[in-house]
Subunit: 712 residues, 2 copies
């Protein structure tokens, strides 16, 4: 928790700069909200045009305020904002929220104004949210530093925090969430993020012990690395981040950039690092709210086993389908559980899982209780869903039965109640049961519970320190190779240098030697054993095949000599001014599965590792996965599992399973390399990496490093 | 429209067999419903225990009823049902709905009772719905032949028909749909389907001119072919079938079979034939209702171009993402449209598409109208979504603006209104505008509109007759080969026979000859030109590679002779009692893309064609697509497009595009073959079929036909 934001989120005194007596205006609404909601701190309206406002003394300037001020709400025209902030700094105000628009969202001149504003805040040590924001609410302390419609009506405090880059969308979501019984402890619109960014705000609210789940809406991040830090912390303390990140498509990215000017980022990288860090990504608005609801109420499940109890066989099948599609399991219940159920469930019901207790539970209230208890106690069940529809006339009885059945239970229970009576949700929530309005939405929410719990378990047992640290010889090698390349004036490191670095990090590379004469080529063939490949080595020739500067399967000395000459001649012909460092003579690798491993310096997330299955899967399906460095072993494992073609590695059609452990070791090693490079490496490619059958290890066959323009 | 079901769905007189005076009981509720709702026909309660019931004369038996009866509602214990139906037959009652449970869902004895019941109905020419059904409603004519909760409260007639195999689930869906403003003209639970099946019921309601969309819920079909016929008719008349089909997963299929005893069917075949026939598949309950809502109100769009207008940039991006993910386009608006919009949209908004008109439209009502009109008129826009949130205070104004903007428009318009005021939906619907409660749900619904419209366009222009008919020589060849195989006593046809059949249907096959001596092998090499492959031809050896009974790349006479001897010897060693018909000498094919084409006799859908891309895509991803025979060209094209690896055919990484036209011709030919075989073929495989670059055609390299146990 960044204690520096305490005055911002929990101010003891608030100044409203540019306050208005018109409570319908942007600069009037926060005063009304603060008064109506009973904010307990001091409120200082600031406006030279008034002596008093709504019965409060009004001050001509911030510096004229008699007592200390923790937060300034700034609602003056854009051109006057920087001056207002400078005045806040002079007064010693530590934080501000700036509603005013007319900044970065308005073109060149606006961007200049915004840079000025940010600089003024930074110089003065003032933390600033905005500009161009609806502001924020902390409903626990009745701090309504906002003009959003979300401040209207009841604003009950509660376990959900919501930080959004879009004001209008966020407001609608809060309204919809409240209709569904969600209580928002915090609602924050980050605006243009001139100073405080999305991750700063998220990082503070996640630490509040009254908050159980943090929802977010992202169009583009300024500092993705900081978000990953918050996500790590969220895993540690067991509070999920549930995020809708838009800008996935071309049209979406186009709209996002026209909308805020922030980088839309490459979506697949987001998908990868979110998965890695247990950030749950909601593609639909309702999913965002459903996940917030379920984490507000339910404990985390110990595993993926879903027990389904229904009054409708049909709904049971629908839920089982959806559960398996998402990777949950719907285990056949134990013999003991089935025996218990058989005694009470009507013969036309079902007892294996899904359990169909039929509408009989209305006539026989004990049936609901006993069957649900039995399912919750089944050893294979980690989380349960009970489905029903309508039942308005019997709602109180059903709620009472559910509460009895759940009393003392420690596994999460979600009730999917279609067309439910209004009163049921709150009554169930009090008992620790989450109610959702449809069968498939309940399954989707349970999947979120299971996924976060699973990722958290992996995170807690991972040895983060070990996975991030590298022995110094490897780092020295990396530094030396990079320095030598820079000294040569080249930004591209070919296979020999790349292999040197990879080998230092423990990545097996195909035996090879850079040769500079035909005789040396023949000699190398003898030493390495054949067959070998000969490939031109030049920073200026990236497509060796196109240049016809590669010869494969060379098996005798005479061919080796001739191949050397041809390769060099063809390279010269292809690009006459190419710097040719020699020819790489490399032992050929046969068999195994082709994999591509990469590392790039991501504008949002820093060093990011990529893995994909070679050949048609990468080419036709772009079947690759990303993860932010450093990777733990379980991070790397999860990346591989997320590949569509993951089955290729486990051995399809009788082929032996690949040496996944060795591949995981390469991914973690490359991730450490990415961290150690401290930005020096723009891109690293191993293509292909051959993965042999289990126990056979891996070997890098070709590799390339592109250095950053700048870097250590 | 099967006029035979008119008395069932629109009865002029109803008998209630087993009627009760207790209106809370299953046998009492329909009488109450019919009276309460004002059913205009005659009602005849039948129960020897009463003289009158609810003021109506009550009869001791059906035969005692004085006038004609169109429909009998049967609600007597299972063991008395068949007798009741026989009495109906004696009375000349043409149709019945049987509520009673205790039949097929209850095990062996129940199945026997059900078979008896079905036989009695069939013998008597009586059409029967059930047993074990909640019954049905025709709300246009106030026929509430049901005991479902769905009959309670208001039951307004309307454009949605819903046929469901699950009673409880269906009832909940109707309740939820009514909450969302849907009006159900028909609600039918098909029960155990002893006589009338899902497709029979669907086929009748789709023809009612007051019905605009037919929703369905399926666990398993008895006669999938009939459903395809209904789907064809639905495409013809432009009314979509929107169906939730469960049993997609192992757990789901397990539950489905424990639930109804019906076949769960292979889900991927369902997916394929549904796509082919324009049946929209809803995986979530809310999707089913949203699709019903949008088709109830909107015209069909002319193309996939989506115009998005919002008050929130964030929602615009979210929708653009979802739209592109689903294959809709979000076109950049024309220069003229953008120019129009620029004049009215605030500078911090956006005008390219998504169009962000900002919250300014509240202060400036003309902005909403003018911007929406401009977007609807843009030539690239086929359908539009307008997004907003809350606005309770301005709801009437917004609705009026929307109605004005849409007056005279012919393109569909969906309003995504989050946390909307209650009154808005009905007011918009009257104006032909569909309102949904979220951004992404609106996009999903629009996608359904676009998909059905597109499939319908393709269906209307296809030459169904031509695509289904084959010249008689091919059919004669097929019949001759099948007859010869049956005469030989074999059920498996190897490559030579399969090639004969395929060639007759115009599928190019690799030149080959069945040889029976080493000399003949050498001679064939000379005639075909090398290289050739030699493969053992035996109905008893399906895995030639495993038997080492295949030789590739044979290029000279001596090798051909030796290869022949080896292949035969190895085959004998592999399976000593194998019938060896000879060795197939076949010209080898090089290059091209490997494809797998199959045909099987599906228990639900009859002859079904399969296509997949060979190699890792089929093996690791099971990337195959299905379609029911006969296939039109556009059916085949849609199958190919639905493959995940479809890009492989269009040429990835600079490879030339494949000859997709020739591949489509193979798929349609195989589908005609499937129809012509009239069930004689259980399975046909072409694996591989080599597809050469565009213009180069295709060639079948190996093939197999497995005959049905029975068949013509």
């Amino acid at each position: 928790m960044d204690a520096g934001l305490d005055p911002f989120f929990r101010p003891r005194a608030i100044a409203i700069v540019g306050a208005s007596e018109d409570f319908n205006r942007i600069n009037g609404r926060p005063l009304k909200f603060l008064l109506d909601k009973g904010y307990a701190g001091r409120i200082y309206p600031v406006n030279p045009r008034y002596e008093t406002l709504a019965g409060l003394a009004c001050y001509p300037s911030v510096t004229a305020i008699p007592g200390p001020v923790d937060l300034a709400i700034v609602a003056v025209p854009a051109k006057a904002v920087t001056a207002a902030i400078q005045e806040c700094v002079a007064k010693g105000v530590p934080s501000a929220v700036v509603f005013s628009s007319g900044f970065g969202e308005m073109g060149e001149e606006g961007r200049r104004l915004e840079a000025e504003l940010a600089a003024a805040a930074r110089r003065g040590g003032l933390r600033l949210c905005g500009p161009n924001t609806l502001g924020f609410m902390n409903t626990f302390d009745r701090v309504l530093a906002t003009f959003s419609q979300a401040g209207e009506g009841d604003t009950p405090p509660g376990p959900v925090a919501f930080v959004t880059q879009s004001g209008a969308f966020g407001t609608a979501m809060v309204a919809l969430g409240r209709q569904q019984g969600l209580a928002f402890g915090y609602f924050v619109n980050s605006g243009n993020e001139a100073d405080l960014g999305f991750a700063d705000l998220l990082g503070w609210v996640v630490e509040d012990p009254r908050i159980k789940v943090v929802a977010g809406y992202i169009e583009g991040l300024r500092d993705g690395r900081k978000l990953l830090g918050v996500a790590d912390r969220a895993l540690e303390i067991g509070k999920p981040l549930v995020i809708t990140k838009v800008g996935r498509s071309a049209a979406g990215a186009r709209a996002a950039s026209s909308h805020t000017g922030s980088l839309a980022g490459r979506d697949r990288v987001y998908a990868g690092v979110f998965r890695q860090k247990g950030v749950l990504r909601a593609l639909h608005e309702e999913t965002l709210l459903d996940l917030a609801a379920v984490f507000s109420v339910c404990p985390l499940p110990a595993g993926p086993g879903l027990g389904i109890v229904t009054q409708s066989g049909g709904a049971g099948v629908l839920m089982a389908d959806r559960a398996e599609e998402l990777g949950l399991t719907v285990p056949v219940l134990s013999d003991a559980t089935q025996a218990t159920l058989k005694k009470i469930v009507p013969a036309f019901g079902a007892v294996r899982n899904p359990v169909d207790i039929t509408a009989q539970f209305i006539a026989d209230p004990g049936l609901l209780r006993a069957s649900l208890e039995a399912v919750l106690q089944d050893p294979g069940v980690d989380v349960a869903i009970f489905y029903l529809g309508l039942m308005a006339r019997f709602a109180d009885q059903v709620v009472a039965n559910l509460r009895e059945a759940y009393a003392g239970a420690s596994k999460p229970l979600v009730v999917a109640w279609v067309a439910a009576p209004e009163t049921a949700r709150a009554a169930l929530r009090e008992a620790g049961i989450c109610m959702l309005p449809s069968a498939t939405r309940a399954v989707d929410a349970v999947h979120g519970l299971v996924e976060f719990a699973e990722r958290r378990r992996q995170w807690l047992v991972a040895d983060h320190a070990r996975d991030a640290t590298t022995a110094s010889p490897a780092r020295d090698t990396l530094a030396r190779v990079v320095a030598a390349a820079r000294a040569r004036g080249t930004g591209v490191l070919g296979a020999p240098d790349t292999f040197t670095v990879l080998a230092a990090y423990g990545v097996p590379v195909a035996p090879a030697r850079l040769v500079t004469s035909a005789a040396e080529a023949a000699q190398t063939l003898r030493e390495l054993g054949g067959p070998i490949a000969l490939k031109v080595e030049s920073p200026d020739i990236l497509h060796k095949t196109e240049a016809d500067a590669i010869r494969l399967g060379v098996n005798d000395a005479e061919t080796a000599r001739r191949a050397f000459e041809e390769v060099v001649a063809n390279a010269r012909r292809y690009r006459s001014n190419a710097v040719i460092r020699g020819v790489l003579a490399q032992r050929m690798v046969s068999g195994g599965t082709e994999v591509v491993v990469g590392l790039h310096r991501d504008p949002q997330f820093g060093p990011v590792v990529m893995v994909g299955l070679g050949g048609v899967l990468v080419e036709a399906l772009e079947d690759v996965a990303f993860g932010a460095a450093p990777l733990t072993r379980s991070d790397a494992q999860a990346m591989l599992r997320s590949l569509r073609g993951a089955r290729v590695l486990s051995g399809v059609r009788g082929r032996p399973p690949a040496d996944v452990d060795a591949l995981i070791a390469v991914l973690t090693a490359v991730s450490r390399l990415g961290v150690d490079a401290e930005g020096a490496i723009a891109e690293l490619d191993i293509n292909p990496l051959i993965v042999h059958p289990r126990g056979g290890g891996v070997v890098a066959v070709d590799g390339l490093i592109v250095l950053s323009e700048q870097g250590p």
